[in-house]
């Protein structure tokens, strides 16, 4: 049964792909509901299917079987351009290795997804970028290029970039994997703070058991199956 109040619903999702001669069955019938404003961690060992699950939720990968409904839209029915638009409007991504554009400064990196919002004028765009920079505490680094920032600061830029479009959902794929312990907790604190202040739904993957106590909901995934 589908949960009609869920912002995201996955039903019977399988994902198979070929890795050389071998067929990998990364997800094996995943059912999952995420509600607006939830802060959820997907926990599992390396290769358990965490990233595949996040990719499918974020419409950057397609399930081999099953359905994904995001904000009322069955993603299987969407064209590639429509999925791009959906990602830009509804989803923010935070990557493990930040994925910032090295030739753009902090402000310009954060501005990138907003460039696709024709309805947002230059003045409003600048204001929203400034707000996002302030939210992640990087105001004094606004004109710095990524290679002048620490790992934690770069991830803050990535968080600001994910939030600047005011998405309903932020997907963070092992956002703290490249960070030290102290920075990890600061980043998690920041995401929780933004989740509580803005009501943004967060879904992040991690294999760090120490973070389990920090989040409201934990989804465990083992060999492509969500553990009961």
């Amino acid at each position: 049964m589908s949960d009609t109040s869920a912002f995201i619903t996955l039903r019977g999702v399988h994902r198979r792909y070929r890795l050389g001669e071998v067929e990998v069955h990364a997800l094996r019938g995943v059912d999952l509901d995420l509600h607006q404003g939830e802060f959820t961690a997907v926990v599992g060992a390396s290769g358990s299917g965490k990233s595949t699950l996040l990719n499918i939720v974020g419409c950057i990968d397609d399930p081999s079987d099953g359905t994904v409904v995001l904000d009322g839209q069955d993603t299987a029915r969407l064209s590639d351009d429509a999925k791009s638009r959906l990602r830009n409007r509804k989803v923010g991504f935070i990557f493990q290795s930040f994925n910032l554009v090295p030739v753009l400064d902090v402000r310009e990196n954060i501005e990138l997804p907003l460039l696709l919002h024709d309805e947002v004028g230059a003045a409003e765009r600048a204001q929203r970028v400034e707000q996002a920079i302030a939210d992640v505490g990087l105001a004094e680094f606004a004109r710095h290029l990524p290679d002048k920032l620490s790992g934690g600061q770069r991830q803050r830029v990535a968080i600001a970039r994910a939030l600047v479009t005011r998405p309903a959902l932020v997907l963070a794929d092992e956002p703290t994997a490249n960070l030290d312990s102290a920075t990890t907790h600061k980043i998690v604190d920041l995401m929780i703070d933004l989740n509580q202040k803005r009501g943004v739904t967060f879904l992040f993957s991690t294999h760090d058991e120490k973070l389990m106590g920090r989040v409201a909901r934990v989804v465990r995934i083992v060999d492509g199956v969500i553990a009961p």
Binding site: G44, S46, G47, S48, G49, K50, S51, T52, N55, G58, I60, D61, D62, D80, D81, S84, R85, L86, R87, N88, R89, F93, F95, Q96, S97, N99, V101, P102, V103, L104, E108, E111, L112, P113, L115, L116, R161, T165, D173, E174, S205, H207
Partner: protein, 454 residues
């Protein structure tokens, strides 16, 4: 500058060496094409000016039907009579695109010096027309070396009872032993009435005056002769005529051949590009008047074979080299952008994840190629114009095949040529970029971000 163009510009700095290599390859290709095109343009103007003004072809020429090939053999049926000349002149003179009209008589004969006679081809031309075409600005710009006589002045009107003023090609004057033109013969004893031919006195006696005898068979089959005097010596536009060409006033030549006919009439246009249109209009008007004529332009291979044939060869060569350069540009850009896209696969994935469509990501990368190729093409054009200016200032001289004498090596690149090269190469560079990136951009987003799969 929009953010995407700013991003494209900054991305060029991410692999300076590769982008510089690619940019230089494009720039040198553009400069090479511009210089080659400038040289081809200079040769075209040189050959066209020689054909139109020095070989007296004009831009548009009117013959009696069959006159182009048969006028010399059958002048009475294939040359224009006086009435036809008048009618053609009236038609051409009424056309505002026509600057100048003249009649020409071509013939053959013998030039004698009292000891020996040599065959010549003679061109009869109205002196006023000759004066204008040999000082035409286009000729002075494109072929100044051949425009002026080597010695003397182009022949003017013949004075009543006087010798016929004639211009002799340098080789013919030399073979006749006539080194001086009328009025420039050094003072000395006059030549005897009967020369001491085949003696050591002959050379001095021949050089003692500037007189030649012009002998020809008239159109009614008798022989006629006129006393001529050398008004000028000149280099012909083609080496083939250097030892036997004479230019004389039309009226005198008609007297020699005892005719009022002309081999052809030629029109010189204000703009050479109008030649085909003027010729077409003339054909139509002549047909309406019942005037049977054959009209050629200087762009007809049958009428100006050396000019048209040479330019066809140069055009083929230029086209082939353009293809080679375009191929080099395409392969260079293709290689550079293929490496770029491989290095930035995750970045492409990031853009796609942020919501950029395939087309928008492709456009970002094509913008980079546009900036790179735009800068490179502009640099290449600047290099081309600078090198051309340097070559032109250096006054390098060379002797083109078939031309008697040296001419200056000039390279005349044009803004239109530069624009054409840019219009060809920049889109090719962009197309090569599109080819290089389209496959990668179409990959699934998750695959592009594969390093993050868990």
């Amino acid at each position: 500058m929009t953010s995407t163009w700013r991003l494209a510009l900054r991305n060029l700095g991410r692999n300076k060496r590769r982008n510089a290599t690619t940019g230089f390859a494009i720039a040198f290709g553009v400069a090479g094409l511009l210089l080659l095109g400038g040289y081809a343009g200079r040769i075209e103007r040189f050959l066209r000016a020689n054909a139109v003004f020095l070989q007296h072809a004009g831009h548009v020429a009117v013959f009696k039907p069959g006159g182009l090939t048969k006028a010399a053999a059958r002048p009475l049926t294939h040359q224009l009579d006086a009435a036809e000349q008048k009618a053609v002149r009236a038609l051409l003179a009424a056309d505002p695109r026509v600057d100048l009209v003249g009649a020409w008589l071509r013939g053959v004969g013998l030039a004698g010096n009292g000891c020996r006679s040599l065959p010549f081809e003679v061109l009869g031309v109205e002196p006023a027309v000759l004066a204008k075409i040999t000082s035409h600005p286009e000729l002075m710009a494109a072929s100044p070396e051949l425009a002026a006589p080597v010695t003397g002045r182009w022949p003017g009107q013949r004075q009543d009872g006087a010798a016929v003023p004639a211009a002799l090609s340098v080789g013919l004057a030399r073979l006749l032993g006539k080194p001086h033109v009328a009025g420039k013969v050094p003072a000395g004893p006059p030549a005897p009435a009967v020369l001491d031919c085949d003696t050591d006195k002959m050379a001095a006696q021949l050089a003692a005056d500037a007189e030649v005898q012009l002998v020809a068979e008239t159109y009614d089959g008798t022989f006629a002769a006129l006393q001529g005097e050398i008004a000028a010596t000149f280099h012909t536009a083609s080496e083939a005529g250097e030892d036997g060409t004479v230019i004389a006033p039309l009226a005198a030549l008609q007297e020699l051949y005892q005719t009022d006919r002309a081999t052809y009439m030629a029109a010189f246009l204000r703009n050479a590009d109008d030649a085909a249109a003027v010729a077409a209009d003339l054909r139509a008007q002549a047909a309406r008047q019942g005037l049977k004529v054959e009209v050629h332009t200087v762009f007809d291979e049958a009428y100006a074979p050396y000019y048209v044939g040479t330019m066809a060869f140069i055009g083929s060569m230029f086209g082939f080299i353009t293809l080679l350069v375009a191929g080099v540009v395409v392969l260079t850009v293709l290689g550079a952008m293929t490496l770029t896209i491989l290095e930035r696969t995750r970045e492409v994935g990031m853009f796609r994840a942020l919501g950029f469509s395939r087309r928008q990501v492709t456009a970002l990368l094509v913008r980079e190629a546009a900036v790179l190729s735009g800068i490179a093409v502009a640099g290449g054009i600047a290099i081309g114009f600078l090198v051309a200016a340097g070559v032109n200032a250096a006054n390098i001289r060379f002797r083109p095949p078939g031309v008697p004498g040296d001419i200056q090596l000039l390279i005349w690149p044009t803004p239109a040529g530069a624009a054409t090269i840019a219009a060809v190469l920049v889109p090719l560079a962009l197309a090569a970029t599109w080819l290089a990136v389209r496959g990668k951009v179409r990959s699934p987003v998750a695959a592009l971000l594969a390093e993050h799969s868990g």
